[in-house]
Symmetry: D2
Subunit: 270 residues, 4 copies
């Protein structure tokens, strides 16, 4: 398998993790290690970066090991997201982390569902691309918006499988498939990374089997009963799903000797 390329970055691991919701920094550190990730995403809003005891999350990450992917979580309009993206660039430049050059853009509609707002997401993407950012953009599974975000210059489009933290996995594989068909047309290496909704290992494997290039997840590890075990599971699920995709699965049939793949499914009502 070839490595994953996202803009100017190259990685062996196709699993991106988050740093939120862990019971403590020690557990976070160990979970990240077990996940095998090379990229971890960090919210740069002050109230998320600095905890109630004044500790800075970045001090608890091995910056020589991970490329930090700053994100704009907690931003609910384009202006706010753009401002925090710039702030992140300064922050990571000062730390000399390669993550200074990219950003995971989150422009959310509201706090209740944390679903992305399509209009401000596109607006912020256009602006940040202009400013030279490598934008990885979190979005819904709306196909035409995904297409527009790529056209706007995003180095990766990151559709949600289901709402952030919902644990429902990929609810609409049909949309993800069409997104893949469109974004990879004449550009097969363009990275589509499922971001949000993953609940467990099979969700990750399934995302990879659809042909996605990677998965970003956080809650499913951090809020599992045993995050360490789940980090381990996610590592192997990513690898399993990727290899299964490359291996070319057998077709689905009603039974093995059925004359055509899933004939039963299609001629259901006759």
């Amino acid at each position: 398998d070839k490595p994953l390329k996202v803009g100017k970055f190259t990685f062996q691991s196709r699993l991106f993790t988050g740093t939120g919701k862990y019971a403590n920094y020690g557990l976070m550190k160990e979970s990240l290690e077990l996940s095998g990730c090379e990229v971890t995403t960090v919210a740069v809003r002050r109230e998320r970066l600095i905890d109630t005891q004044g500790r800075n999350l970045l001090d608890y990450l091995d910056l020589s090991r991970y490329t930090i992917l700053p994100n704009t979580a907690g931003c609910f309009n384009a202006e706010d997201a753009i401002r925090h993206a710039r702030l992140a660039r300064e922050l990571l430049k000062n730390l000399e982390n390669p993550g200074a050059d990219w950003v995971k853009l989150e422009c959310l509609g509201d706090k209740k569902t944390l679903l992305p707002d399509p209009i401000d997401t596109l607006k912020a993407t256009e602006q940040l691309v202009k400013e030279g950012f490598q934008v990885l953009v979190y979005t819904s599974d709306d196909v035409m918006l995904a297409k527009r975000l790529k056209e706007a210059g995003a180095v990766s489009v990151m559709p949600a499988g289901s709402p952030i933290g919902s644990g429902q996995g990929i609810l609409n594989p049909n949309s993800i498939r069409i997104i893949l068909e469109y974004l990879k047309e004449n550009d097969p290496d363009y990275p589509v990374i499922v971001d949000a909704g993953v609940g467990t290992a099979s969700d990750v494997a399934f995302a990879m089997e659809l042909g996605c290039d990677g998965v970003l997840l956080n809650t499913s590890i951090a809020s599992a009963e045993n995050p360490l075990r789940m980090a381990h599971a996610m590592r192997w699920a990513t690898e399993a799903g990727r290899q299964a995709y490359l291996a070319g699965r057998i077709p689905r049939k009603m039974y093995a000797t059925a004359s055509s793949p899933m004939e039963g499914r299609i001629s259901a009502s006759k």
Copy 2:
């Protein structure tokens, strides 16, 4: 994690493979190795064991490495299945393979769907248990039959996720869940192994996440476009699914701040 116990046998790997449908013996050997399996199942009917060139499949397996699980594939009634189970015992005794003591019982209804016949399956199980066999019994996902098969003395019940070779994965997780609830009541280590129907890696992970103790598969590797890659995928999918099960996944919710798990699902129509 503790090892998998099936009757008197103990294994580290929870993936059982089959030996049918490979393009050639070399590919079979290498695929088995990459899958990490410790058990592989072999059909003992003559027409399956000896190929058209007179070569015996068993000569192409590293018998010091694998425990052979003989199966009665191709048998369509209890008598025939019992006869072939006895034959298998002789065969493996002569080879001094520990697999002499157990058998995967398949009593199929017909050649078209390869679905198991419940009546003869139960009859053959009762007889083989009487004869001292450690019986692992292939069955549908019928809950009450699974219960009866355990009561009849089977050391493992092996429900189908979907028809053999269909690649549809686990079509009825509700049945598998009830089977697990029943067969593991006051006997948590009783092994329930999904046998048949697996199409790709996420199917395996999902089976393990339900709490199954292992997965047996054959076509999904042997008939994949690239069996070696798929064998690799299946190895990690088994591990990923098992670890995810033990880790305790997050609940499914309509969105993360929804007040109860999957409330939307339940109160759907109001």
Copy 3:
């Protein structure tokens, strides 16, 4: 559309109802009327037929309007079920209801799940057929058992969509499709009636769209918040599903101009 034939009986309505769990007999009567059913099933075990006030359920049904389908609910082995089938025959003969000639056989595995026991179900079917009963037999969606039950002489096989009262609808359409393929081979009018599991109207429509000949349900009406409205819904869902089946639905495609039906589904992992 032609009428539904089950053994020697002929009906216009393809919806069979039950008589259990209603808050009171008045509600039951009215719900049955709104459902448009011509057949309603009655448990003949004494504790179910006679309520705590000594009232006989049959006195609250318009016997000139409905064909009573006696059932053996509450019987957990073949002997008990056979005894109650005979008892039902006497009972309905005395009432001069045509239902004296048939019986819905239920041989359940236990009280917790109310799932059918395959072995005793087959045994009781064989005996009751010998005694001249027209047997409609409740069973799981196990294909080979369904085949055996038809071969044993049942005038209708009634697979469960999901456990009785679970409201989950048809969990394994693949099994129902194969049952239909087998039981209707060279016998297209052989009636397969989904019995159990229906939760709401779309479940009924879906069952009919698969090609089933009818649906039997009880809890989904009796335990709905508003049974009268739900009875009405079930009537039209049965009709809608049947007509949709006969109409021949459009194929499923990833999008309308996709070159083949559901190509995306099949070549998912490439």
Copy 4:
């Protein structure tokens, strides 16, 4: 049940039909009648309105019976859609059809998938609302866009269940549920009408059971093998689904005596 209100319009039937793809006008007329619809939608682009023989579709519709809902199908940007909406208004004014006051806005991304473009859809909605149109707006199931479209003044938001003509039904009920939660908050009668993707009767019933206020469909009738039968099916499916929604369905459980609704589903992995 109360009637459906959409802007200033009131209807008894909750099924909206389309007029495209019929083999001939006679079949169209008869199908519409059997569907029981009171609203039918007509594409106002010249190449769709006038057939190759120069015949105007509107001459073949009973304008005294149906409220025509003009639509902008075939428009791929806001300007074009706005222009055709204005054109439609003139056309229907001249015909004295009440449909002159409203429009179903379609702003599509491309011809291949016919998926809606979110940006131009919002832009055109804003403009048409300013011009006094009652806008019913076709959109994807993106929740935040649906919210914005309502805020922009659309009298109805019409999310796609799946791509136009795909016959896949509602692929992401979770999204539709959240859209309903948001758009009906403090405004329970705001009409959400599923538009696109319906394949068969159970899809319609399911949409209504989710709490949608209506369904718009075209291909599933026009391209069925027997459109007349399917029109009939769709009529009753709409009614069945609506009544089932109002009736309040039973909860889903693993089996009837399980202690909580779908407990098995939630605690799946433990």
